[in-house]
Point group: C2
Chain length 631, copies 2
């Protein structure tokens, strides 16, 4: 799994160096007979071996996440936290740590946990800290994680703690909607002081998750719900770090039109840390049949026709739970007009190259023959897959924007509008943020979906916290932020993994004919740009019209002027619209050289509920005794 | 005097709405016999009538300004504070205020002032407050001004209070080097509550001042110092709001070469609030003689030749004290090579159109015949007065930058370098900020002078807090920020008052031949810009080569693209240098199409000494009894 290394300056200013807790606990065998805690509905293995398991619960009322960290076997300590993109530098950390001695510090904020002097035992310290840009841990003066309970269980050491979404310290990590990069580390041996712990010397890793799951009521399933399992056929997971497994299956003969109303993951027990994400695609209806196949998607044996199985039916990623359609809608499948063939794709993430593990994971579709009032639809917003939209190299945060214009929604949407209930964001490797905003009468009204910590390695269909209604005449603006620091040449739009996309697949109802509402810059204006580059750069480089657009971009000397003007061009030039019924068939109308939608007012950034300034508690060390020693 | 109305949003975010004090005092005639307070060396009348006088003292050790506000005749109250550009909206205010009743609030932080219940007296309240964007006053929860003493004196009510430079509240006004816009208001009648006071209904005004005077030791004057007074000849101040008075005088026949070592203002008693600034210029040596003249500078009677009297000898503005040259240098005047003729220019600011006031104000030069080791010189940095540097209309903060390149300093400066000890910043009406930075080996090293609240209406020669040494090969980068929100057309560079300049006159020693080290964008690249504007905007406008540059700029349609590309051009295109011995004679070398100096590292913004977060004291009302009543 690629761990991007963002500009540390930027990361530092955005999330800063952040606060940690030191739990000073007695590492004696603890006798605990307390009943289980409140349920933590979301659960995820942190490390590939599954020896660290995180479960959590979100309280929107308290704006707080409650965590339970289960440590199967505690060595010298463990480190958990969050950071912008999964780096251990500038991370917001909790450290559970022993120094191998009996020394510890008084003062605890946790009345449930008595502080006792136990000089004869090993002691773990709980203390505020942060890691700097070099991964060195420092003490800090603020405490934003709060330990609620620590105890031994048969499964291991259970730590329950909470953390507000927003600590009100602008230097701290802010828990936001969308992807959160969890980081962890295992301390193999005792350190004399916390500051002797350098995170670069630890066994560490990251796990991506959507922490802030929406708290929407689960719709009741109809009584006649049937299930269908789309699973891999007890395959042997390759001992490779990354495998995308493709498996073709088909609906029963004569399977009529049904509505999928829910789907959920089936993960083979023991493989929870290996199964990263899964998707079910329906194949294209224009082919009578598709060949059988079950093997790695990049296998040379894979029949080419499987590339026509791209219509998403279901998508799951690590940490996601069951996906429920709204009560009034379902996703149609089956029937004469759609293909009987389905493609299951499972991404196995096996960095430890574990051998001999068998797997039958997949997705269980829950469907009903009693069609719901509305068919759900999937629409693609963002940028056309075209090289005319490009990102210069060595950019840390270059933004490209695609539009779904008022003219297109006016033509294609029903008078009562559509209702977006879920969204899947998509870019390739350099994508860092994705956001779609609804614009009405020139004013930004609502965020459809936003992920400021987007990763191409973690794509899931996310239920929206609140359905977004789009009316005819509305504009949908999808912006993607890219980081091309490690690239030498421009990154152009396209299908290739080294090219880029900016897409939001919105899930909505009632279904319309509009499948694709995307834009690019007008190619004529891009030609003017290349002409300008030639004039300003003394013709020593060829960005000449006879070359292809990727060749022209490859020839641009990326000085500040050419970068600034490209940015200005994308922010000004008219656009070509794709307002399509399917990827090839356009709605009737003129879609070239369309004016860029004008946005006269922006959404304000959500105002912080933090006081303008606040108490600064003095730096304090907290010693926590988590039970009686028996040694 | 023009009071610019900045973008209130911007102003709000920069300086915020800020804190005030309510002084609850007894408006009884007070008997006070205390000795005078600590001296407040700087003194300025706030209002044109001189009924409010501010004096102050700067403690760099405590990072605090101590103020004494003298109120000649207190009516219902008085309001004093600071804001970004002199607006009463979003101002940082102190309010001295009576409600006409005996009610008041307890709690005072000023132990020197006993709190007594005096229900029979009028009471003034002291309370934290801020004014919002509409000028409405609100209570606030923080107190950043601290009252030290309030007492009656024969001159009026004296209030002594202090305010830290930085209150550590990011919403508060930060007292910085350079211009500070003081605001004041007189409450004519009692208000029932502070929140009933709307600043728009008051008699208010502003006064510009350099609050943070440098604390540099005053050099001793030589024993043989003589003085010469350059004064207006007992003129009648015109009853016009603005008059620039021009008066020609001459040095004695045969006056030999001397060094000016100090100069100071002479302001006719009673006219302190009317005399705004004064400058003494030496006329050009190429003319044998200059005609006598004493009258308004814009008079049709003024001889044209007086335009050749532009070499600054001395400049003073309201609030400035005596100007001392460093001990080792003096400004040469007199002798055969310079003109005997001097022009005194006095700016009278008479908004109340007071009639019949006579004035003999001027400047007293202190000079010596025993020449000091070094001649002081004046060098002009920034932009050439050329229309090729232009600001689009409707910009709130457009930056233009002029360079003094390494190539020029390499040629023109002595091996040991020069030492800058003072600086006078200069723009025309739309200038809002000016800064000059010293760059060595591509890295920003030091700020030469900076004013983030610059006003064209307040230009003075300011001593630097610390001398800045410039070596051959160094680069001096002067940037000006302009606000053209109220303009319809581009503002081009030039001499006209509606054109713009970006200049820093640096005062330095030892004098060199280099008088002017300034730049503009390369005109060929600007032609490419106009060509581009034509191609991108469908030739419907003529920015054609046969037109003049101002005509071409006037024809540009100012869409986002044309703005962005102009900004990109100025940040990228090569420059034409003026590296001149006098305004017409260049040092030898190629000065066209020079590369823009590369700056690989920027100076970091000064780190705040404020804690990351701090105590928030609860809102409290303070009642202050300033003495015994006699009524």
């Amino acid at each position: 799994m690629q761990v991007p290394s963002p500009n540390t300056r930027e990361a530092a200013s955005m999330y800063g160096t952040v606060v940690a807790i030191f739990l000073v606990i007695l590492v004696a065998t603890l006798q605990s007979s307390a009943p289980p805690e409140d349920p933590f509905p979301y659960r995820i293995p942190l490390d590939p071996e599954g020896s660290l398991e995180l479960s959590w619960n979100v309280s929107y009322a308290q704006k707080t996440v409650h965590f339970q960290l289960l440590v199967q076997e505690l060595k010298a300590g463990v480190l958990f936290g969050m950071s912008d993109r999964g780096e251990l530098e500038n991370a917001d950390l909790v450290v559970l740590w022993t120094d191998g001695h009996g020394t510890y510090f008084g003062v605890t904020a946790f009345p449930a946990l008595a502080c006792k002097t136990r000089p004869e035992s090993q002691v773990h310290r709980k203390q505020d800290a942060w890691s700097d840009q070099r991964g060195q841990i420092h003490l800090d003066s603020r405490q934003d994680y709060q330990l609620l309970r620590a105890r031994r269980t048969p499964e291991g050491l259970s730590l329950i703690f909470k953390r507000p979404f927003d600590t009100c310290d602008p230097k701290d990590y802010l828990i936001e909607d969308g992807t959160v990069h969890l980081v962890y580390g295992v301390l193999e041996e005792a350190f004399r002081t916390l500051e002797a712990v350098n995170t670069s010397g630890l066994q560490t890793g990251l796990q991506r998750v959507q922490l802030l799951k929406p708290s929407i009521p689960i719709p009741a399933l109809p009584a006649d719900t049937h299930t269908m399992e789309i699973r891999t056929p007890d395959i042997l997971i390759p001992d490779q770090p990354t495998t995308y497994w493709c498996h073709i299956t088909e609906l029963p003969d004569g399977f009529s039109r049904h509505h999928i109303v829910m789907y959920e993951p089936i993960v083979t027990k023991g493989n929870e840390a290996l199964v990263h994400h899964m998707e079910v695609f329906q194949c294209a209806p224009q082919f009578e049949t598709f060949p059988q196949f079950s093997g790695p998607c990049d296998s040379k044996m894979k029949p080419g026709r499987l590339d026509y199985c791209r219509h998403v039916l279901a998508a799951w990623a690590l940490g996601a739970k069951a996906f429920y359609y709204p009560e009034e809608a379902g996703l149609a499948f089956g029937g004469a007009e759609s293909s009987r063939f389905l493609r299951l794709e499972v991404h196995y993430h096996n960095p430890l190259k574990i051998q001999g593990r068998r797997d039958s994971s997949g997705i269980r579709l829950h469907y009903t023959a009693r069609l719901r009032p509305f068919d759900a639809g999937i629409m693609e917003l963002g940028l056309v897959y075209s090289p005319v939209m490009a990102i210069p190299p060595r950019e840390t945060a270059f933004v490209l924007t695609g539009y779904c214009t008022d003219k297109c929604t006016q033509l294609a949407l029903p008078p009562s509008g559509i209702h977006i209930f879920a969204s899947q964001l998509h870019t390739h490797l350099t994508g860092r943020k994705v956001v779609t905003v609804l614009v009405r009468d020139g004013r930004e009204r609502e965020i459809v979906n936003r992920d400021d910590h987007y990763s191409t390695h973690f794509q899931e269909i996310r239920m929206l916290k609140k359905m977004v209604s789009v009316r005819p005449g509305d504009v949908l603006v999808t912006s993607c932020t890219y980081n091309t620091e490690d690239r030498e040449l421009a990154t152009v739009g396209g299908f290739g993994i080294l090219e880029e996309m900016c897409v939001n697949y919105i899930h909505y109802y009632p279904q319309t004919q509009l499948e694709l509402c995307k834009s690019t810059v007008d190619p004529g204006f891009l030609r003017e740009y290349f002409h300008l580059v030639n004039r300003f750069n003394g013709e020593e480089v060829c960005t000449c019209p006879q070359a292809s657009v990727p060749e022209q971009f490859a020839a641009v000397p990326w000085n500040s002027f050419n970068r600034d003007v490209l940015r200005a061009l994308y922010g000004f030039a008219p656009i070509s619209m794709h307002c399509n019924k399917s990827s090839a068939v356009s709605f009737q109308g003129e879609w070239n050289r369309q004016p860029l939608p004008e946005i006269i007012s922006k959404l304000e950034e959500p105002t912080s509920h933090c006081p303008a300034s606040q108490d600064q508690s003095p730096s304090s060390h907290t010693v926590v005794n988590i039970g009686g020693g028996k040694g």
